[in-house]
């Protein structure tokens, strides 16, 4: 295959494209295990983006939140997922598989496009022109038609810029979570994330931060019962490990 195509895929176009790129880079199949594995890469990629694709920021965040779910499930096997959460995981897997399929198929089109072309007959130059208006050829109809054309020209979508800044603060969240845990030793995720009092995106970011700390071995988490609050504790009190 020609190399320009591969180069082009490095400029990820959207969240699914990004995610698929990360999975394929590791030569993995699409399933919950591979998705849990690339969740960090995905977050890291979003953080690294200087020119965040603003138009799709909501999509990026939604998918990030699903990845967090998948990853948290893999880290905390006892974590019970709601039907809605499980659906969103299945849905993401399904979409990724579909997207991967069509991406592959688009290569067929790329190979064929413009290579084998057949041609219609050229229009005859000596075709007879005969003045033949129809019953719609009147001023009223023309004015009506032009109005509806003008109305149907797409206007560029308005994009929610506010959402973008929230995701970028992931690092700050990790820092602040570490600080607070080390000072109070024990706190609840609900308290920390101000769940119910702030936007969902902040909760997601907090949760991500918590998982990141679990992964780095800085804290332990404990959830006594399904849907109950998660207790966080530091592993190594007072020892900075990062």
């Amino acid at each position: 295959m020609d190399s320009t195509y591969n180069v082009k895929t490095h400029i990820f176009e959207g969240p699914l494209d990004t995610l698929l790129g990360l999975i394929e880079k590791r030569k993995l199949f699409i399933n919950d295990i591979s998705l849990a594995q690339v969740a960090d890469d995905y977050i890291a990629y979003i953080k690294s983006l200087e020119n965040f694709p603003i138009a799709d920021s909501a999509h990026f965040i939604l998918i990030a939140s699903t990845l967090v779910l998948i990853k948290s499930k893999s880290l905390l096997p006892d974590l019970a997922l709601t039907t809605e959460e499980q659906d969103s995981i299945d849905d993401l897997e399904d979409r990724l598989k579909q997207y991967q399929k069509y991406k592959e198929l688009s290569r067929h089109l790329r190979e064929r496009f413009g290579i084998q072309t057949s041609y219609f007959k050229q229009p005859r130059k000596d075709a007879i022109i005969l003045f033949a208006p129809d019953r719609n050829t009147n001023v009223g109809k023309l004015s009506e038609v032009i109005r509806s054309i003008l109305a149907s020209i797409p206007k560029p979508d308005l994009v929610p810029k506010a959402m973008v800044q929230k995701v970028v603060s992931l690092e700050e969240m990790i820092e602040s979570l570490t600080d607070r845990i080390q000072s109070s030793m024990k706190m609840s995720f609900k308290d920390f994330s101000k769940m119910g009092r702030v936007e969902k995106v902040n909760v997601i970011v907090s949760f991500l931060a918590m998982l990141e700390l679990v992964k780095q071995g800085i804290i332990n988490v404990r959830q006594d019962r399904d849907f109950h609050d998660i207790e966080m504790e530091t592993n190594k009190i007072g020892v900075p490990t990062f």
Binding site: Y102, R110, F113, G114, S118, Y119, F120, K121, P123
Partner: protein, 186 residues
């Protein structure tokens, strides 16, 4: 087999030089559409190894030069080779080709990004077209055009690589979705 009818169809298609509906042929030639479709099949066979081919697409047919002589025709017209399609357009075109008629929403669901501009650029190039979705007047579905097929060197959509397999897969997963949807409906 009615040779006279095949000849007439050939004459009309030659004259028209634009895609023509089977129903139009039926009306003009005063025969049933089934008969037209049968004759078209025979015409396609007759033309199979010739310099002219029959191109059929969604009930529309036209005559075109055989794809194997494209370089010859290109040399005559010195027409500029079509510029490559971008990645976004190619992905969108693939979804429309294999899954069409497909709505903008479905395309964006699969690609995960806003596909308004990719679609518009395909529309502008005459590669896809809008069609009302059967059974739902408000929905607009996109389908691939006869022109796009011509650019792909295909005489019908079914000749696309893996077409039947993909179509079957889509069909199966749709069935699954329906089952799930029914189950979750309360």
């Amino acid at each position: 087999m009615n040779i006279e009818l095949i000849n007439k169809i050939e004459a009309i298609l030659f004259y028209s030089s634009e895609p023509v509906k089977a129903s139009f042929l039926a009306k003009v030639l005063e025969v049933g559409e089934t008969e037209i479709l049968e004759s078209l099949k025979l015409l396609e066979e007759t033309l199979g190894s010739r310099g002219i081919r029959l191109l059929s697409h969604q009930n529309e047919v036209s005559l075109v030069t055989a794809p194997e002589y494209s370089s010859l025709i290109e040399a005559i017209v010195k027409e500029e080779r079509e510029r490559d399609l971008g990645k976004a357009s190619l992905e969108t075109l693939a979804i429309v080709a294999y899954k069409g008629p497909v709505t903008k929403k479905e395309i964006e669901y699969i690609r995960g990004v806003n596909s308004q501009y990719a679609l518009r650029s395909l529309l502008l190039r005459g590669l896809v077209e809008k069609k009302g979705v059967e059974g739902d007047e408000r929905m607009v579905g996109y389908t691939i055009t006869a022109d796009a097929l011509r650019h792909l060197g295909l005489s019908k959509l079914e000749d696309l690589p893996e077409y039947t397999a993909v179509k079957q897969e889509i069909h199966n997963s749709l069935k699954n979705e329906e089952t799930v949807a029914e189950e979750t409906q309360e």
